[in-house]
Amino acid sequence: MNTVAIALNVNGTSHHAEVDPRVSLVDFLRDELGLTGTHIGCEQGVCGSCTVLIDGTSVLSCLMLAVQAQGAEISTVESLSNGEAMHPLQEAFWEKQGLQCGFCTPGILMRAKEILDANPNPTADEIREGIAGNLCRCTGYQFIVESVLDAAERQTANA
């Protein structure tokens, strides 16, 4: 098997790895780096569960090969918390019941992070449009929208 050497930064940590060129980025993150917070839903770019940030921009890690992440800075859901204090988004989702089964949550949190990074005070409509690419089969989205609004308030209050 021909492997390819890649170097990338994931959640602030540099990694060097030899990867099989056919491995998707999400499989690499989960299987090689053990970052199983990023979930695999549809593997066809429809559900948004595998959303991660690459250089600050949300992308679907099932639609990328790991070798394409050469030199990239990747943030997964594991980057949100330092292991002690929750990120304002996580606090808000906790408080506002922004999740039920939790399968879609890592993708939604990362997409919500990008939305709030670009616009600290989005409207409910902007949030709804913004998370249109993240499917949730439990919540009906209302509590998710309220959670992101709450997170925006928390972040603004802390700023």
Partner: protein, 253 residues
Amino acid sequence: MPLMHFRLASPASLIDINGVDELDYIERKNGMLSIGARTRQAQILTSEAAANAAPLLVEAISYIGHAQIRNRGTVAGSAAHADPAAEVPAALIALGADLECVSRAGTRAVAAADFFTGPFQTVLSDDELLTEIRVPAWPDGTGSAWMELTRIYHGFPVVGAGAVVHMSDGTIDRAGLGLCGMAATPIGADAAIDVLVGSAPSAELVEDATSAALADLEPPADVHGSTAYRTRAGRAYVRRTLTAAITNAGGTL
């Protein structure tokens, strides 16, 4: 990538152009909007040059998937992928774009109307790369509209249509139309353009042009729509986009 996930495609080798920064640009030059092959769809949505030169392309791209898809997907990638139901190919046909294809043998520009040869098939040969899309900047006052029928919000189009209309002294002097989901390839509709150009807009003219656009089509049937359903929906979307484009160009029906 989904094709590989589904084991429908298993290419022996893949060449990634993501590292080629020189192919990342949106430029207005010589009356054309030039888009490099690595330019993301999301970049078109925020590009002033694209908004000025080709609002139809911007509008069509706004319907593609969702933010995460547009952040990574490229305009040229959608063209080269040649999905007959996708937005970009039909919009490029409507606008009269050229696609620059480069191989070691040389460079050639192919009109969008000639580029697509079948479902997921183009004139690109095995050793050729689509490097640039050139969209002619239509004159000020041009009206355009993109509309599509999807099963779910921002889902893949069942059918879609894009129209571009320019008027002068109350008469349509230039028009473009592109349809997706209506045939084995994205298609233009020269017969409809012939009906429109040289005439003053009216509801009857739009109806005649719509009939001309649909005349020879027998849209493919699948689980999302029968031939009859697509024909009927396609007729409605052509009529609506033409009406909207004429209105946006300052015309009245």
